[in-house]
């Protein structure tokens, strides 16, 4: 039985625009992944909890509100504190160029801004997950 890549797509914080998150969810589905979609206005605790229960390989965060510097490091921290050391965290949305190094330092694998290609995202995820086979 082949192993499916499981991805949690979540929108932390208060902005109400989830079109991007849905486009990504569909693209990952079409690439054969199982995408758990959690909807709008999730707290960092809710996201970490869902990532744990669903035993995902990847957590994708969509943020358009500008609150990424507050939300993302907190989410990564909670996920790691739950014992999920290997979960890949990726971020999409409106993220200023100058914030990207800090996000990566906080443990984010990749950041996708407007105009990113979903093919690239799929390829990145597949490659990263293949590299971290736990079993």
């Amino acid at each position: 039985m082949d192993r499916k890549i499981r991805v949690l797509i979540a929108k932390p914080g208060l902005d109400g625009h989830d079109r991007g998150a849905k486009v990504v969810a569909r693209a990952l589905r079409d690439a054969g992944m199982e995408v758990i979609y959690t909807g709008l206005r999730q707290t960092p605790e809710m996201i970490a909890e869902a990532a744990l229960q669903e035993d995902v390989d990847v957590v994708g965060l969509s943020i358009l509100s500008g609150a990424h510097m507050a939300l993302v490091p907190r989410i990564v921290e909670l996920i790691r504190a739950n014992g999920q050391e290997n979960v890949l965290v990726i971020v999409g949305g409106i993220i200023p160029e100058e914030d990207i190094p800090a996000l990566k330092a906080a443990g984010v694998h990749a950041v996708y801004g407007p105009g990113s290609s979903t093919e690239q995202m799929v390829a990145d995820i597949q490659q990263a997950v293949a590299g971290m086979k736990v079993w």
Binding site: M1, R3, K4, R6, A25, R26, L28, R29, D30, A31, G32, M33, E34, V35, I36, Y37, T38, G39, Q42, T43, E45, M46, E49, A50, L52, Q53, E54, D55, N82, G83, Q84, W135
Partner: protein
Amino acid sequence: MDLVKEVLSGSRLALARLLTQVENDTPEGRQALNSLFPYTGRAHLIGVTGAPGTGKSSLVGRLAQAFRAEGGPQAPRVGIIAVDPTSPFSGGAILGDRVRMRDLAGDEGIFIRSMASRGALGGLARATAGAVQVLDAAGYGVILIETVGAGQSEVDIARLAHTVIVVEAPGLGDDIQAIKAGILEIADILVVNKADLPGADQAVRALRSMLDLAHPARLMRGGCDARELALAAGNGNGHGGHSGGNGSHGGAAGAALSVWEPPVLKTSAPLNEGIAEVVAAIRAHRQYLQASGELQRREMERLQNCLDRLLQETLVERWWSGVSRETYAEVLERLAGRNLTPYEAVEELLKP
């Protein structure tokens, strides 16, 4: 880490990881199911099925909350397995049931797991039964299983669950939909959800009249043995909660207790109305199952179903190990050329 030991001691991380192993049918997963089997059989398994858009996920969320709230400090832990369809084209899936269960976040006594159907057609995934066993062994006393929701052929859930809730919504079809085979026969409890929308009362009436016509409980009435009846009636009298579920259907409560008549209940998940009645009906159904001996019968049927399925899968696997792909391809070729019938092809392939 020893997943089985960790799961039994309450680790949610280990539980999540073990569910993945079981879902992927790995050797570790099978081994763990073997080790956990003696700890299973304690949970009450509740299936929730119904057409897409009837509000199954929202209802499941509300039921989980109610079970947690009602029990006080003794409240059972609640496990939820929500199955959504896998795309037959890409093999991927979008699992969206958690969107409707966001109010459950923050309660450590609730564990929600989304599952993709991965090609199975009966409304559940092949690994759902295994996942349920894991949650059962991990001490989740109530397990809610939400099916894909294709609506008309989801009978797998009837083989897995102790109590099956069929969810309808107003305006989804006339009463002929309700007497088509399958969905009504498997219902232990019928819920007309979205009762805040117009048409709910008509839907309830339609279901009740169809139950009067078609439910096997009606046909069987009178045919049950007296000892069983007395047992069930005695049990029913002792519990006030009984009337909440069964009584709402009117009339038959006393005499027909040894035959369960599915109550038809109205709920509104967003308004949180009617939920307590559904929980009461689930409890009443559980009591009925225990008092009537039906619980053992269903458990036996469930285990037999599980055994038969494993037997089939294992036989097919073993058979494949003794036959070459070339032989198979060659027989297929002859079949396509109309030189063999399908029956002859099977005989040919099964030749020792």
